[in-house]
Amino acid sequence: MRFYILFSILFSSILYSQSDSLKSQYEVIYKIKSFNDTLYKYNAAEENLSLLIKGHKSLFRSTQKAISDSIAMAIGKKSFENPVDGKVILDMKNVPGVYFKSEVFSDNGKQTIYKELMRNRFSFPLEDPIQWKIGNETKIIENYSCKKATGKYKGRHYVAWFTEAIPIPDGPYVFKGLPGLVLEVYDPSDNIHFTMVSFKKVVKPMTLMKDAFATKYSTFYKARQNSIDNAAGVLSNQTGITLKPADIARINSNAKRNNNYLD
């Protein structure tokens, strides 16, 4: 009898620990196309992004990020294991870049945005969800009949196309809350453009960004502004590396080139 009680306790605890790790039912892949400098629209950057959905929960993030991090770790570990003349040489040239570093976790419509600024990670709640206006216009995207909706987010107007054929009120980044899945969203100047690439039943772990400092948007905004105004200083402070004067100028100049923030 004792054995059976012990077994049932053990079994239920295993079941409980498994339900703790969230896994998706569906995955929507979107492509983002955007320009870093809206005054110089040359060579749009593109990257695939993933929206993992499980019931009323979803996680939106770059598909490239995990790949890039694991390649960097593999290259780095190999370098540490094979020093050249007793010295470790770290060369990150072959690590693919990550363009879209933000992540959004949505739980029953309550959205939390995760951001990375160099070594620091922030999380803050979406304070101003988009108030959508649904229009009469329709168009077909990937064989789905879509309706047009318009809304404003952080001072920028957006057009979204959603389909009621997939009754999931979700979409890329913070473009959620419509009565169907958002398949396309863009601003009228087309500086930022998300397009659905695929929609599939996929079981994947939905793991949140770790070690993020929970704060408000205003705190993140100030930190980002500081990292734009004084990029080299912030980088040096966070990494503990004393930068060469030529590189300080280069880093500060590079940081100011971007003027197309999604917020």
């Binding site: 290259i75 690590v95 590189d247 590079n254």
Partner: protein, 110 residues
């Protein structure tokens, strides 16, 4: 009587064997514990490795020393090298800039 003697012999032999097994087990456990102690002591002791971060677009190196263990502020070797790899990534991204095929540290609508 004979049966009793036989049983008691078995019992004595059994107990002796069990005792020697226990002793061996205890000895092994002690050895294991001392090995673990040595390992944790070496983990606790501060150690450092010198490294050079190569910035491919300028062809220059940034020399640095990475430490872990007591007093270093980083607990383990794994954490220390992960931090240094991240630093090297950031350095490449921010110096070489956007669209270079090596990183987007200064770009993206983040």
């Amino acid at each position: 009587m004979k049966k009793l003697l036989l049983l008691s012999t078995f019992a004595i032999v059994g107990l002796t064997n069990a005792k020697s097994i226990d002793l061996e087990k205890g000895k092994k456990e002690n050895e294991k514990k001392s090995d673990q102690k040595k390992e944790s002591e070496s983990e606790l002791k501060m150690q450092c490795i010198q490294n050079a971060m190569f910035v491919w677009c300028t062809g220059e190196f940034y020399h640095d020393t990475v430490c872990w263990g007591e007093g270093s502020g980083t607990a383990t070797y794994q954490q220390a090298i992960a931090d240094e790899i991240h630093n090297s990534q950031l350095l490449t991204e921010y110096i070489c800039g956007q669209g270079t095929g090596s990183g987007w540290g200064t770009g993206g609508p983040n």
